[in-house]
């Protein structure tokens, strides 16, 4: 009897709980999200690993370039030293406006002039203080410390150099040397620059020198050294005898663009948006390499015929609307076809990797009551490494030595099926960007 009663309670629960209630057992999307995260357990790590690898590679490249630039300044210092050595004896032949030799000797310890270069090469000095003259032996190309000896070649002299004396000023010469002006000395003699210096001493000293072997000489202040300038570069080229090595340039760009995405032709277009950071490294005067990361929203609409799935729909949808969030990692090569003044044109091509961060598909059916799923959402499921061909044309205009703006029409053609639906997703757009020249590279 007791057993029957116990059975009755078992039966009550067994029968009562056989069919779950609608409230508790009805499908909830968040449960599937958790399920999907569980299934993708290793996938996000994979993406993270890839991104870490990419960032590390970019960082390593940056380090290499910066390291190379700062630790190996090519042949410049040697030439500088060579010319400085030439200037030393010249100063003894103090010219018309040159300082007396005796005075030079007195002021040697605290005078900021090219004379000090006799003790320390201008190259060394410029590297250490980054504030005073630097010198280059390259005609028309590099900086020369001090001035020509007036009278030795009078035809070059049209104006006497000015000297600003701050007699009461005392202190560290390097510290004070940050104050100086540069004036290109007249239009007729373009190869001369007058340098005004603030000298911490009893009197002003006009540093002058003579480079006998150089027929065309150029005096450029340190200020020019830190300013990229294309015009002197041209004169440098025109003067001939350029032996200067190319220095890689480095520029960081922020780009944003609207683009149209289409699967077949451009009849069914949807406009997407892109934004990202790009790093461009100039590897030669004409060639550059660009990489970076672009976060893109790529919506598209396509006929179901263009959409591939292993799932068998009871009733095939008519079309598929998609909204994909993509991380685009491009590696492009650029070739500069035009470079005049502040305007540059270049052509570029390369490959992009798409990391499909999110893919949302909506299936559009003909009838009101679909016989299949209405939506399908996945995350971090597909990656297309080097799966997209990039073609672009870039117009860049320099605003200043450090900053520029760029407009880049581009076209992206997939080499593989994109996303879950393996669609032939093409994108065309115009990117607008701001470029910061981290290292402008080659200087005159």
């Amino acid at each position: 009897m007791k057993e029957e009663k116990e059975n009755s309670i078992d039966k009550l629960f067994s029968h009562g709980l056989s069919e779950p209630g609608d409230d508790n057992a009805s499908y909830r999307e968040e449960d599937w999200d958790a399920m999907e995260a569980m299934l993708d357990g290793k996938k996000p790590k994979g993406v993270t690993r890839t991104l870490i690898l990419l960032v590390s590679t970019i960082a390593a490249m940056l380090l290499l370039v910066i390291g190379w630039l700062f630790l190996n300044p090519a042949s410049k210092p040697d030439k500088t030293t060579q010319v400085v050595k030439k200037t030393a004896p010249v100063q003894k032949d103090s010219g018309k406006y040159g300082p007396p030799v005796q005075q030079l000797a007195d002021l040697k310890s605290n005078t900021l002039s090219a004379n000090d270069s006799s003790a320390m090469s201008a190259g060394d000095m410029s590297r250490k203080s980054k504030s005073f003259f630097t010198l280059s032996a390259v005609p028309g190309g590099r900086k020369i410390t001090g001035f020509d000896t007036y009278g030795a070649n009078p035809s070059y002299i049209t104006k006497t150099p000015d000297t600003i004396v701050t007699g009461k000023t005392t202190g560290n010469m390097v510290g004070n040397a940050t104050k100086h002006d540069t004036v290109i000395n007249g239009s007729t003699i373009t190869n001369y620059a007058k340098v005004d210096t603030i000298i911490t001493g009893k009197s002003a000293v006009m540093a002058s020198n003579r480079a006998d072997t150089i027929k065309k000489r150029e005096l450029v202040s340190v200020m020019d050294d830190v300013r990229p300038n294309k015009k002197p570069a041209k004169s440098h080229r025109s003067s001939g005898g350029s032996t200067m090595a190319f220095k890689p340039t480095l520029a960081l760009s922020f780009v944003a663009s609207p683009d149209v995405n289409s699967v077949k032709g451009f009849s069914q277009n949807k406009v997407g948006t892109n934004a990202g950071l790009l790093l461009t490294m100039g590897v030669s005067r004409k060639w550059s390499i660009t990489t970076g990361a672009i976060y893109a929203d790529k919506p598209y609409l396509t006929d179901f015929a263009n959409y591939a799935t292993s799932y068998k729909f009871n009733t095939n949808p008519q079309s598929v609307s998609a909204s994909c969030i993509v991380l685009d990692i491009p590696i492009n090569v650029g070739y500069q076809v035009y470079n005049k003044g502040v305007n540059k044109f270049s052509l570029g091509t390369g490959l992009s990797s798409y990391f499909m961060l999110r893919e949302n598909y909506t299936f559009n059916y003909a009838g009101e009551y679909p016989g299949g799923p209405a939506t399908y959402n996945i995350r971090n499921r597909n990656q297309h490494i080097m799966g997209i061909l990039n073609l672009n044309v870039t117009y860049q205009r320099e605003i200043s030595s450090k900053f520029g703006v760029a407009v880049q029409p581009y076209y992206k053609v997939p080499l593989t099926g994109i996303g879950y639906g393996q669609v032939n997703l093409k994108s065309a757009g115009v990117a607008v960007g701001v470029t910061w020249n981290i290292n402008p590279g080659t200087k005159p």
């Binding site: 009550l12 629960f13 508790n24 057992a25 292993s310 499921r381």
Partner: protein, 213 residues
Amino acid sequence: MGEEELYQLVKGCLKDDRLSQKLLYKAYYGFAMGICLRYAANRYEASEIMNQGFYKVFKNLTKYDITKPFKAWLGRIMVNTSIDYYRSNLKIAYTEELDKAEHINDTDFADRNLNYNELLDMISQLPRAYRTIFNLFAIEGYTHEEIGGMLNISIGTSKSNLHKAREKLKIMITESNKTPGQTNKQVNDNIVPINHTKHTDLSISFVNNVTKR
């Protein structure tokens, strides 16, 4: 779901096709959740168990014999996952007073008009050990020998826990008749946690019960 459709979904799942996985998940969600809810203390826990179960399903789908009913295979996995979950939550030990159970008159409970939610509410109020054994014995139909093997307990412990589970359920049913809507308050009050923490989900350790005896 038709056999052909199920076959297509299974085929898609075997290819790791996410859409097929989702559709299979959706199709058997209610069934799987119904099982897991009985073993879980709440819905959140149930969905956690269910997802663990589905994960096993997707990862072991190659082992599924297509000639046999899928529902039975899936149900077995859900029950086993619930047991795994129970095992992993054995650490928290509670004792319980069952004095009141002695005073419940034996009546026929089968004809009580209690809906699914009321019954689920009662069963979820049971301590985890009682709930698991009651589910396995009364609903799944396992014997005490099988339950002992599954939960790594003695047959006697299984029997005694089943008895206690029934007694508690009787109290709850009786109480529900007296004060509808406050079914299990008194029952809950009977459970005294050892560590004095206020957990809504109370498990009873078999070890403790054995020691008490």
